[in-house]
Symmetry: C2
Subunit: 191 residues, 2 copies
DNA sequence: TACTTTTGACCGACCGTTCAGTCATAAATA
DNA sequence: TATTTATGACTGAACGGTCGGTCAAAAGTA
């Protein structure tokens, strides 16, 4: 119908949408999903409350969009999709990438951790998250199998727990947490 | 003098209060603090909404009471207050106690983890929690110092993260998580 | 003009909280 | 024993406020 400006419109819409998602992620991470109101996000984004509903179907849709984007970004940035086996160096590289992601996208991780705590909400993302985690776990299992571990699966699960724990501690105390030294120790112990 | 004996009154109050706290902990753990309404707790406890305010000053006081009780229980059950040094056996015993506590008081841990995620709420318990955690951390540091570790502090921090991570994973997936095997591996690796 | 974006007043539902009043109980009285 | 009385656990309607969400109309753009 409109001859040409569709591209411009799309661009504006895309940017606005991203702006809303950015402030929403920030606010969700700081106050938690439930405690954050639509009005609060609208105010911070300098738009009206009503406009929120032009871009998202509702609060839950907004959350889902944010999480989906974050998960996909996580997947693409740390895609372990090589030949399927992990060398020593690749494992170390993977660890670095993982924690670098936590450093850069700490708000996403905050939100992720807090959502996982609420079974009623988490079901929505559990499946999607597992799709991301599973290939990593598989890689780890293969790695420890090749390394001759007694119980590679448990070894992999332990490493997973370690990542969660470190991330959990770092993300909520980034200023005082000795992340670099911890990472170094993880490599010494588990690679 | 009085229509009811003081003992009777005390007993009634104590039991009711505990009943409220029990259902509240359960509900907070399941739905999260913010998403749980006073009405919901009252309904589950089979009392009126108003009575809640006879026993607690408000929602936050209810939460604080639950957390305080849990933290104290945690402290008393896993009190590391021996001679200040940890032998190999004592360390293993401590680990067992820690995860046994997670098994038994999983709802408390769920709530604890979820509260730590919301800075606005967590400030209240951070201080108290640190009082519990600090002596453990100190014990660990001493242990690894005696063991001749290069950087005992980081070693202790890593163990702390590991406990958090395992707890986090177990508490939200108790049915499938291979806790026993993981504990065994933790002992092999870190004791 | 024809179309989309944007606004903010508005809605019903539910929130945490309050409070005037009810009611079961057991001590005191007769 | 029968009746009165004092007590505080307990109720539920109501309050001010905020929530997520709606919508008619204004503003902006071609």
């Amino acid at each position: 119908m409109s001859p040409r400006t569709q591209q411009q419109l799309d661009k504006i819409r895309k940017e606005r949408k991203q702006a809303i998602m950015d402030t929403a992620l920030e606010t969700f991470a700081e106050h938690g999903y439930e405690s954050t109101s639509i009005s609060m996000i609208a105010r911070k984004t300098d738009i009206s409350k009503g406009l929120m509903y032009n871009y998202f179907e509702g609060k839950e849709d907004l959350l889902t969009s944010i999480m989906t984007e974050g998960i996909e970004e996580m997947f693409s940035m740390a895609d372990p999709n090589r030949d399927g086996v992990l060398t020593k160096e690749e494992f170390e590289y993977l660890i670095d990438g993982m924690f670098e992601l936590m450093r850069v996208k700490s708000n996403f991780y905050k939100l992720y951790f807090s959502l996982m705590m609420q079974p009623s909400v988490s079901k929505l993302f559990m499946a999607k998250m597992n799709q991301v985690i599973e290939p990593f776990l598989k890689l780890f299992v293969d790695y420890y199998t090749k390394k001759g571990a007694k119980n590679p699966m448990v070894e992999a699960v332990l490493v997973g727990a370690l990542f969660d724990g470190i991330g959990f501690n770092y993300v909520f105390n980034p200023d005082v947490y000795p992340l670099d030294e911890v990472i170094k120790l993880v490599k010494e112990r588990f690679v």
